[in-house]
Structure formats: structure tokens, C-alpha cells
Amino acid sequence: MTAIHVLTATARLAPVQALAAARCESDCALEARQLSVYYGAFRAVKDVSLKIQRQKITALIGPSGCGKSTFLRALNRMNDLIPGSRTEGEVIFEGCNIYAPGVDPVEVRRRIGMVFQKPNPFPKSVYDNIAWAARINGFRGNMDDLVEQSLRQAALWDEVKDKLRQSALALSGGQQQRLCIARAIAIRPEIILMDEPASALDPIATLKIEDLMHELVKNYTIIIVTHNMQQAARVSDYTAFLMMDEDRAGYLVEYGPTDEVFTNPKDRRTEEYITGRFG
């Protein structure tokens, strides 16, 4: 039963992938190949293969617990930090597998940044949040300029320019989240992973973050996990739909350009999920 599921899933995926690959082979920023993630004996993500397009926003959607966060964290080796977790398969970034022996996870995370669901600024000043990230990576330029530039890119400058020396924890939730984005882009990653970055925010702050993503995608590749279908439809260029099989292992059901996935899904389960009849 499980085997059949996998077979049908990959079989259906094959044309999509082939298409994407043919269209923009060099535009592929990150590629997961047969990626599986285990927590101890439990397999949370099963054989996910997909190619992320450069300078596009890719949305990961799917029911709660299907392994979206797990998959996302596997893309910059964040799961290494969880005792008992194990990854199989490959993630190809810049022509090399980030899980290959000899690859330094610190370098992977510096080049593939991450923004979390809950804003997690450092308990330092607004300025130091950004400055620290840059400094530990050996930044030697003008720090004031970098801080201002990062905050401007994160659409936060005007709100915090008078409180750079105040604690970041005194900012509102939405401001904190944009500070985290500013911190992530201050070290110039190539890819930014965002795990439900707007789930704790009100609609206005959410819109600000979405505008910000549209702005950032000119320079960065963005992968975002979201539970909000409208948000996925609004911001993303590509959408991947994940689901759980009966072992609660997450697998990829459908992946393609967002308008196709939302208007003309190839899989019945995608359609049911998007229209809200499921999950």
C-alpha cells in the first residue's frame, strides 16, 4: 500500500519535474533528491524530490504535521541540531550535496538563511541584532551602513531608526519578525527559508511581510511554509503540496507553478485541500 503510494506519487511528479528542469536548468537554486528525514525511528519526510527556482518564491503547503517544517529545516541542515534526527537523500546547492561529508553546516546556514515562525530576535539592541550576525561572519565594512541598509530592505528602518540602541525585545511582534528578516539578509544569503513567518501577525503586518518578500525576491530565492492558502496564492511563484501517508510520513503530492496548482491541480487531493474539503 505504502509502496504503491510512493510509486504513484513519483510517477505523477516526474513530468512536472522534467518540465521545470527543461525550462530552467541553470535557474535551479536548490534541489532536494529523495530527501527523507527521521526523528529516531519515525520517518517525518519521505523521499521528497523537488527543484527550487532561483529568485522565485516557492510555497510549501499541506496539512498540519505533514513535515513541512521538517523538510524546510532539512534544506539548511537545521535538523542537525535535533538529537536523534537523521537525514537521507541529497540536497544539491551550487552543484554540491550539502549533506556530503566534509561540508560545514555552518557555511550552509550562512548561505541559506532562515526566518522562524516565532520572531526570535537576540536579547540585544536592534542595532546589535544585525551587527552581531554580520560580525561573527567576519564583516569588515561600515557597520552603520549595513545596519541601515538591512533595515531598509526589511521595510523597518523608518520605524526603528530612533530606537536602534533599544532592546529588540521591546519591538512589536511584526517589527521583531521584520528585524529577524533584516538580520537574515544582513549576511547576504543566497536563499531565505521562512517557516510561517506571518502566522503570529495581524493582517496588516502580514501584508507588510508579503510586500517585503516581493521586494526581496528580486535578489533572493525564498522558500516559505504557510498555512494560509490566500497567502500562498498571493506571494508564491511555485507551490509544493505535501501530505502524510498512513505512517504519518510526509511526501510530495504536487509541485508546479502556483497558478496551475491553484487553478488547475493535477491531483484530486491537492484540489480537495485547496478548496478546504480536506486537511
Partner: protein, 427 residues
């Protein structure tokens, strides 16, 4: 019709309502009140116990004493000038008249009289000539309630003695070294000994303990060996302190004698030149509190939120940068609290120091890690073990000193922690 109304008006009642609800409520509240009473009673008992302890200490530290002077000060007046107003030269003649040539010579060689101040000489007269002796003491409660009876008793049993109110804890008590005369004995040696010992203990135990905690929490793989180490540390925290004393005696006093006596540094105290030194005591106490510091620091490190670590890793920080810049600063208040607890424990430990060889009677201050030592709890223990009642008063006063020192430590810890916390909160 019937089938439609059935779900909206259930016939089976799952939850009590009306009167039965109210009586159920009353029973629930009653249970709460019962527990509250028990907790209040428990608190009351501990407050009573604490009050009894304080009463006991205060009662012993103040009260009437019967004092008899060897020579009355009035008898020392020269030509109508009272003793307090005599000049230095006159005081020296008094000394010469009352004490032997030999003692005079010794005093002169300690510090020539020509350079001694008048206050100094006056004090010598007080100590050597007047030489007040405390014959008996009464606790504070008796002093207040049975005043006339005590007066009566003094007149009958101690002719020539005067009744005086004495605070056993006084500036002189803090300044004076140990002495066989209860009127002169002080805690200075013991206090300095305690401070030296605890200071060195923390100097050793804090870095080692925090280092071990970092290793165990951050680096040690989850394998049988490390689990064994962890279990052992947890168990060591419960080992009776006397056993650490035996360990310290075997390792530091005997095994490492050349080091702990200071001999290999050429620093050994000529009067001892063995391993029964401040450093041996400190190392023993450091072993004793190490498990406490490690366990506490581990707890504090474990309590650092995952999100903070992830934030650090996500901007490309290494493991060590994460530990140094985020984990340790955020765990520091907890680590400090644990360390202060451990420090208080070290301050109050007696048994292991007895085994390691605390000196029973030293009258000169410890000057460094290789001095002989005594400590406040040891001093208190010795004073309470003396047959004379007067030493009990000294013990009570020394307990006050110990408690004040402990309270001061804790206060400093709390202030440090709060300052640090608010600084972090404000960024």
C-alpha cells in the same frame, strides 16, 4: 419530530446542575481550603522554628556579665587624675609598676614604647593591669526579667565583681583574634580563614563546574559512558560531606603534600610545613560543591530557549559562538544563583574541614593559600564544645557573624542577578 428534538434536549445528564452543582462546588472549594490550611500551617511551623533559632542566638549574644578587675581603674589614678586622662608616659610607669620586667622587654621588642601611640599603651594597661575577668554571664531574657535576682546573686557569690551589660558581638569581637580568655577572644582569624577558603573554593569550583556543565550539555554525545558520568555527578551531590573530608585528607593533605604545603614553591609556613593548609581545605570543599555547581549550571543551560540557539545558528554562527554569545549569557543568572548556593554550603561546612585538619587554635591571620586555617563553623563548634559557659556566648556571637556573611553573599547574588537580567531585557 421526535428524532429532531432528541439531540437538543439530552435526557442523560453528564454534568451536575442546579443544587447538585452547588453542593459539588462547595465540596471542591472545601478541598481547596483544606490544602490551603495545611500549607499555612507548614509555613507557620517553619517561621516558628526560625524564630526559635534567632531567639536562641540573640538570647546568648547579649546580656549581663559579672566582671571582676584585677586592679580597679580608680586605684590607678595618679594625684587625682583619673586613668582615662593620664599621659602616655604616666601610663608606661603604671605598666612598669604592675608587670614583670620580662614581659616589658617582650612588649618593647614587639614594638618599642617610643613609637607606640597613647591609645596603644592605654589598651595594654587595660589588658595587662586592669585585666577584667568575666566570671559569669546571663542570657538576655534573664537579664531583662530577673534583674534584681541577678544583682543579689552577684553580691552573694562574686564579691568585688561588677554587673555590666555586654553585647558579645561587638567591634572588638570582630577585630580580635582567637584567645583563651573569653573576654578578649574574637572571630577575626576564623572569619578571614572562612573568606580565604571560600574564595579559593569558588575560584577553583566555578570555572571547572561551569566548564563541565558546558561539556555535558553541549558536547557530550548521548552514549553509555557519558550517561554513567552524568549519573555519577548526580549521585555525588548526595554523598555525605565527611566522605569528601576523607578524600581531601588522602589526596590533598597527604598525597599532594609538597604542593599543598607550598614547599615546592618555597612558600610553606614554617610553623606547619604540612598539607593542612587553606588550599587543601579549599580544594576539598571545591570537590564537595562541584556536583552542585555542575548540576545547577546544566539546568540553567538547558533552560535556554531553543529559539535563541536556532536564531544564532541560522545566521551562520558556530557552536562555540552560540554558546559564548547566547547560551552562557542567558544562562548566567541561573548559574550565578547556583554558585551562590554552593558558596553558602561551602561557607557552612564543618565536618570535612575537621578531617582535613583545621587548626583548633590559631591566633594569627591566614596570609595566603599555604597558611594554617580555621573557619567560622569550626570556631563555633569548638566554642560550643568548651566546658565554660562563657564560650557559648562567643559561639552565639560567631553564629551571628556567619549568618550575616551568608546573607550578604545572597544579597550580592540577588543584586548581581537582577542587574544582569534587567540589562539583558533592556538590551
Amino acid at each position: 419530530m421526535n428524532t429532531l428534538s432528541a439531540p437538543s434536549a439530552p435526557t442523560v445528564r453528564y454534568l451536575p446542575e442546579g443544587d447538585s452543582f452547588r453542593s459539588h462546588m462547595a465540596a471542591r472549594h472545601k478541598k481547596g481550603t483544606l490544602w490551603l490550611t495545611i500549607f499555612q500551617a507548614a509555613t507557620l511551623v517553619s517561621i516558628l522554628a526560625l524564630t526559635a533559632l534567632l531567639y536562641n542566638i540573640i538570647n546568648q549574644s547579649f546580656g549581663w556579665v559579672a566582671v571582676r578587675n584585677q586592679v580597679e581603674p580608680e586605684a590607678l589614678a595618679i594625684e587625682g587624675t583619673p586613668l582615662e586622662e593620664l599621659s602616655k608616659e604616666q601610663l608606661i610607669t603604671i605598666l612598669e609598676a604592675y608587670i614583670s620586667k620580662g614581659v616589658m622587654r617582650r612588649l618593647e621588642s614587639e614594638k618599642p614604647f617610643s613609637v607606640r601611640s597613647r591609645e596603644d599603651v592605654y589598651q595594654l594597661v587595660e589588658e595587662r593591669v586592669i585585666n577584667p575577668e568575666i566570671l559569669r554571664s546571663w542570657p538576655l531574657a534573664d537579664s531583662l526579667l530577673r534583674r534584681s535576682a541577678i544583682h543579689q546573686e552577684v553580691v552573694e557569690t562574686f564579691p568585688g565583681a561588677r554587673l555590666q551589660f555586654r553585647a558579645w558581638i561587638n567591634p572588638q569581637f570582630l577585630r580580635a583574634p582567637q584567645s583563651a580568655n573569653p573576654a578578649k577572644a574574637g572571630v577575626r582569624t576564623a572569619m578571614l580563614g572562612s573568606l580565604w577558603i571560600v574564595g579559593l573554593t569558588i575560584l577553583v569550583a566555578f570555572p571547572v563546574g561551569v566548564g563541565a556543565a558546558i561539556y555535558l550539555e553541549e558536547y557530550a554525545a548521548d552514549n553509555p559512558l557519558n550517561r554513567l558520568i552524568q549519573t555519577n555527578i548526580n549521585n555525588l551531590a548526595g554523598v555525605p560531606s565527611i566522605i569528601y573530608g576523607m578524600l581531601g585528607l588522602a589526596i590533598f593533605v597527604r598525597g599532594l603534600e609538597p604542593v599543598t604545603s607550598g614547599a615546592i614553591f618555597g612558600l610553606s609556613d614554617p610553623t606547619t610545613a604540612n598539607g593542612r593548609t587553606v588550599i587543601s581545605a579549599s580544594l576539598t570543599l571545591a570537590l564537595l560543591i562541584l556536583p552542585l555547581i555542575i548540576i545547577n549550571a546544566q539546568e540553567a543551560i538547558r533552560a535556554v530557549p531553543r529559539s535563541l540557539r536556532e536564531a544564532s545558528y541560522a545566521v551562520g554562527a558556530t557552536h562555540w559562538q552560540t554558546i559564548w554569545h547566547h547560551v552562557l549569557p542567558s544562562a548566567l543568572p541561573g548559574i550565578l544563583t547556583g554558585t551562590i548556593f554552593a558558596m553558602s554550603r561551602a561557607m557552612g561546612e564543618t565536618a570535612p574541614l575537621v578531617v582535613v585538619g583545621a587548626s583548633t587554635f590559631i591566633a594569627h591571620d591566614p596570609t595566603g593559600p599555604f597558611s594554617k586555617f580555621t573557619s567560622l563553623p569550626i570556631q563555633i563548634y569548638q566554642w560550643t564544645a568548651r566546658p565554660q559557659d562563657l564560650f557559648r556566648n562567643l559561639a552565639a556571637a560567631a553564629i551571628i557573624v556567619l549568618l550575616v556573611l551568608l546573607l550578604a553573599f545572597n544579597a550580592v547574588a540577588i543584586i548581581l542577578r537582577n542587574r544582569y537580567r534587567s540589562k539583558r531585557r533592556e538590551g
